[in-house]
Amino acid sequence: MSNKSLIKIMEQLLIVSSLQLIFAISFKSSVIPSFFLIWLLIITWDGNTEMSLVLAFVAGIIHDLISRGTLGTTSVRFLILIYINSFLKIKNLSAKVAATFFFSFLFFISILFEPAKGFLWNIWPLVKYSLIFSLYNSIILYFLELIMRRYRWKQKKDYLVIS
């Protein structure tokens, strides 16, 4: 990986961390979307599997620091989800939205195994919040993908015009 793309990824990490922090501070809701998860999924689908795994570890630690949870738990969740996701070769927008929904649901439901809080027996509220969380993430991913596709298409068009 070139230095330029590494810097680009670090910039992205900074932006995503800031977004997550802003949302965590500003919204007092019990469910806030996970920008880290969306970003990691996008990086994996772009083909940077190894980098996304490393970033999953780092992003997980930052996520735990922001949410004041037990450090390392989110890293484990991210790593497992990104590892599973790395086997999927998704290019279609609707498939990406569906995958985001599925992984978001898995991510939120894994709070069941939070070591500091013990096993949560009240599953139904958790499922309800998981669905809301997954919906948020899917919507964000959908719009992000639309913006990115438009941007890429414009770049391609400009390139064709110049050439």
């Binding site: 190894e50 490393v54 999953a56 570890f57 450090l71 390392g72 890293s75 484990v76 790593l79 590892y83």
Partner: protein, 223 residues
């Protein structure tokens, strides 16, 4: 060969380090919880000691009591004015059996006043400093009976003590027991000043009450 499994290796290493960090963080969390529970326990312990002291004081009061057949220990809610109070509000009322006219004494069994008004959970007490207060008293040394009136802060005035009385400064004053409100023998205060007005047949005796001189937090209300 290793390069082929790079994804698995990165993932395994990531999980390994995550678990390592998780373990440390988990232990730290447990330690901080233990520490906070220790602090809580210590606070509870201090509260228990304070409660114990308070209960011991109440027990002391009960043992010292020789005036009342029935009494209630009560806390003071408000004091008006803060210095030489003329009215006190206590935190016991009709629910606890407080009735109008009941006698109020301090923890050291010095006279404070009597209950003037009773609500469900509180009661108003008129102290001996109040201008409406008139108490039948007896002078310990001469056994003369007089009326002690309020309204002359920081003292109370003892009236109807004869001009020829042998009363002296420092004589102790007790309740006479002739009143409906106050039982006999409750310590009220001591004589601090005696003046003889020109034509009057009586002396003007100033009494310094024992109660209301220091901070009062608990009182005994009895009959």
């Amino acid at each position: 060969m290793i390069w082929r499994f790079r994804r698995e290796i990165i993932c395994a290493l990531g999980i390994f380090f995550s678990l390592l960090i998780m373990g440390k963080s988990y232990l730290n969390n447990i330690k901080s919880i233990e520490k906070s529970s220790y602090v809580e326990k210590k606070l509870n312990y201090e509260e228990l000691i304070a409660e114990n002291i308070r209960l011991r004081n109440i027990l002391d009061i009960k043992e010292k009591n020789r005036y009342f057949s029935r009494f209630v220990v009560s806390n003071i809610v408000s004091v008006k004015p803060p210095v030489f109070p003329v009215e006190i509000v206590i935190n016991k009322g009709l629910t606890e059996g407080i009735r109008e006219g009941m006698c109020v004494v301090s923890k050291d069994l010095f006279l404070i006043g009597r209950v003037s008004e009773v609500n469900k959970n509180t009661a108003n007490v008129v102290t001996i400093f109040n201008s409406t207060s008139k108490i039948s008293i007896i002078v310990d040394s001469t056994k003369e009976v007089g009326i002690m009136e309020g309204g002359s802060i920081p003292y109370c005035i003892l009236k109807y003590i004869s001009y020829e009385s042998k009363i002296r400064i420092g004589d102790r004053i007790f309740t006479s027991g002739y009143s409906d409100f106050y039982p006999k023998g409750i310590e009220v205060g001591e004589v601090v000043k005696i003046s003889k007005a020109g034509d009057s047949l009586f002396l003007s005796v100033y009494v310094k009450p024992y109660s209301c001189l220091s901070y009062i937090d608990e009182v005994m209300v009895g009959e």
